[in-house]
Subunit: 448 residues, 2 copies
């Protein structure tokens, strides 16, 4: 019984490991296009910043360690085609083109960074998706004094602050707002905050091209901005062409469609991770959710179900509850966190919403270090249930988002959340936690 | 329409303010036994430590500010009797004994500190319950070089660390374990931790008396321990004698019984706060819950219902969902946090439990400052639902308890909690949050 896993990162490795644990005599082979498998791509900004001293720290398990666990990993091996009828995948590896037979297939190729700019392939222009990208960027950027970061979402902000922490002069270019999945009333202070930290922010900027001469680049914005190098972080796209071509069901953007057990429409083929559009908990609609925890979880569920399908005595399957999009990003000592939908996202999904926006202290007002934080809460007028929470807060308050995330995923009504008993001690919270204050105001808005 | 509130702190003032907001022409009078109303007693340890520079910072609203809001507060006014038939309370105030008529009565006297020791009234021996106690202690202790703290629960630990932070030599005496509401497997490292911070911990010590000569005291433990002064924090008891005598229903320990709307058994009389045994969410049993948030909340609910009972057009009442006991205490840069029941508490309540105990990193393992934290989870075998979570962790992880608190109060099954999508970014969490790891292990224990 052979399981072939395409993609050797979060979802792929979680799936491989889980299937192997469930059916120990399964033959598990992972084909990874890049030079590394099993690493933390989310750690790359901290590698670039210098907080993580070397890239090896981001490697979770080496190919050798994986082999010892009975999982064979072939890196530098890119799958280029598959045939669901003969059950074969075709790949290009270090020794040329070859093919391999599978009994079960897990598709977990993830995504690649978009780079739609003219001269985007110039040597000083980097995208950061894989560990090798991060290593290349780290090596190339050692002498950069001025850096252009294109992209105002999480990855762009993390890279901009990482370079700024290294004392580089940083230009951050965003096509519209920063963190545009969040609502403006939560993020509007962010550009000023970044400017005060020494990052030059260019909003609504139309970067189109890079101009290169030796290794000095210039970003074409409204005016050209000379930089020593640039990082492009303007989004991702699923690396699924060969699968879609072979008939795996997908969204129009190429994200693979799966059922609640991570099974695709094709026989013996599962898919998981960033390349998938799995069910959103709040809408039940297929929704790409390129986040590390959902990717690991989807992989694990796929592996569990692959194991169940291969076991002599089939056990119970595993089901995916659906993701909601819980995120947090640190910008120096500030954090922006979110779970579920922002107001504009909820409206786009057709919800009739009530909202609250509060400022509340992070701890008892008389304690040293007490600061204000902002919480925005979005609720569904029909059901009274929580749809989303956004926070802009000191770093030390960021974990508050998890209380909101649990409330949202339990289907809790906002009025009930306002009644929850949270932990209070003066160094940690005011008596009424900011989440409770926001819930109380949102419950009032629902009644209005 | 006259509302008399007995007790001018968390529950009493919340009730007074809420009733006044709901029925603005209500005549609201608060009788407070001590010299202060409306202050944060939880801030006293930080006042003693010196983190809060002066006691005025702990005063929330002055009697004058309250009067401006239409709430009359008489301090130094101790209620000594009440007559529910003539609707009168009798008090001893600055001008002697007098009585006052009420149309509605809110009993919110709180508790007083127990001090069962021989010579417990010596001038160098202090209890800390009211702000005036804290001020007296602060003034008296300025020259203390060696301090004895009797009591190993939250308050005792907070006072011991406060004095130690002031460089005093501290002896901490506990009758049994420290934080004995938590399970030993979470707290067992605590004595060593306190010793390493310079606090001498005397476990299973039988303090019986103080011996005084001038202001130098000695605690009689197994052996006498000479100290310059002592703090007694061995628990509290409800200050409800006059109410119980007048027929207000109570537990055998004197905590007042209320319904879900904070109404007592007597006509036009409500009760709220630390002096009450309200419904526990997990058992529906009357359970004292002397914590600031439940006290404020109960007061608010009582005030709301008092207002509703007095309004010309009665509106909807407010209901108390029940408390679970969510607590957190900081000991230097460590925190101990809890929601719901510990294992021994759950068993005492008759639950058949499954548990997990995990150590998990607080953030991505490669990030600077990543440390391990312990999470213990307790679940009900019958329902699969969460009964309690305990954590021993770095201070920066303490807010994780609120995610568990929300899960518990939503009636979430442990298996579902293991599937929740929490926030991940390397500075804040590993991919699998410690709460998820504990839930996953506890779900396994439930299946075993």
């Amino acid at each position: 019984m052979k399981l072939v896993v395409v993609g050797g990162n979060a979802a792929g490795m979680s799936g491989a490991a889980k299937a192997k644990r469930r059916v120990p005599d399964m033959d598990v082979e992972v084909l990874e296009a890049g030079p590394d498998a099993s690493y933390s791509s989310c750690g790359i900004p901290y590698l670039v910043e210098g907080l993580v001293p070397e890239s090896d720290a981001l490697r979770v398990l080496s190919p050798d360690a994986l082999r010892k666990r009975g999982i064979d990993v072939r890196t530098q091996t890119r799958v280029v085609a598959m045939n669901p009828y003969t059950k074969e995948v075709v790949f290009e590896g270090p020794d040329g083109r070859d093919s391999i037979h599978y009994d079960r297939l897990l598709l977990a190729m993830g995504t690649r960074a978009r780079n739609p700019f003219k001269n985007g392939q110039l040597p000083g222009v980097h995208t950061v998706r894989h560990l090798a990208d991060g290593e290349r960027l780290l090596a190339a950027s050692k002498k950069w004094k001025t850096v252009g970061v294109v992209g105002g979402s999480y990855a762009g902000l993390e890279m901009a602050t990482a370079f700024r922490a290294r004392k580089a002069k940083v230009h951050l270019f965003a096509r519209s707002r920063l963190l545009s999945d969040m609502d403006p009333d939560i993020t509007d202070g962010l550009p000023d905050w970044l400017e005060s930290a020494g990052i030059q922010v260019h909003l609504e900027s139309k970067v189109k091209a890079f101009h290169g001469k030796d290794h000095v680049e210039a970003v074409q914005s409204s005016a050209d901005v000379p930089v020593d190098g640039a990082v492009v972080a303007v989004g991702i796209e699923p690396a699924t062409e060969f699968a879609v071509k072979a008939g795996v069901g997908s969204t129009k953007d190429g994200y693979l469609l799966v059922d609640d057990q991570m099974k695709t429409n094709l026989h013996d083929i599962w898919a998981a991770g960033d390349c998938v559009a799995a069910k959103h908990l709040l809408t039940s609609q297929p929704t790409p959710m390129p986040l590390a925890l959902p990717a690991n979880r989807m992989g694990r569920i796929a592996g569990d179900n692959i194991g169940a399908s291969a076991a002599t005595i089939p056990g119970p399957g595993a089901f995916y509850a659906g993701a909601v999009g819980t995120t947090v990003v640190r910008l120096y000592d500030l954090a922006f966190a979110k779970t579920g939908f922002s107001e504009h996202e909820a409206k786009r999904e057709g919800f009739d919403v009530a909202t609250s926006l509060v400022e509340a202290p992070t701890k008892a007002g008389y304690m040293p270090g007490a600061r204000d934080m902002a919480v925005k809460m979005v609720a569904d007028r029909d059901s009274g249930k929580l749809l989303g929470v956004q926070m802009a807060c000191p770093e030390s308050s960021a974990l508050r988002i998890n209380a909101a995330a649990v409330a949202l995923q339990s289907g809790m009504k906002v009025a009930r959340l306002a009644e929850v008993e949270t932990a209070y001690a003066p160094p940690f919270s005011p008596v009424w936690d900011p989440i409770l204050v926001a819930a109380s105001e949102c419950a009032k808005a629902l009644r209005a």
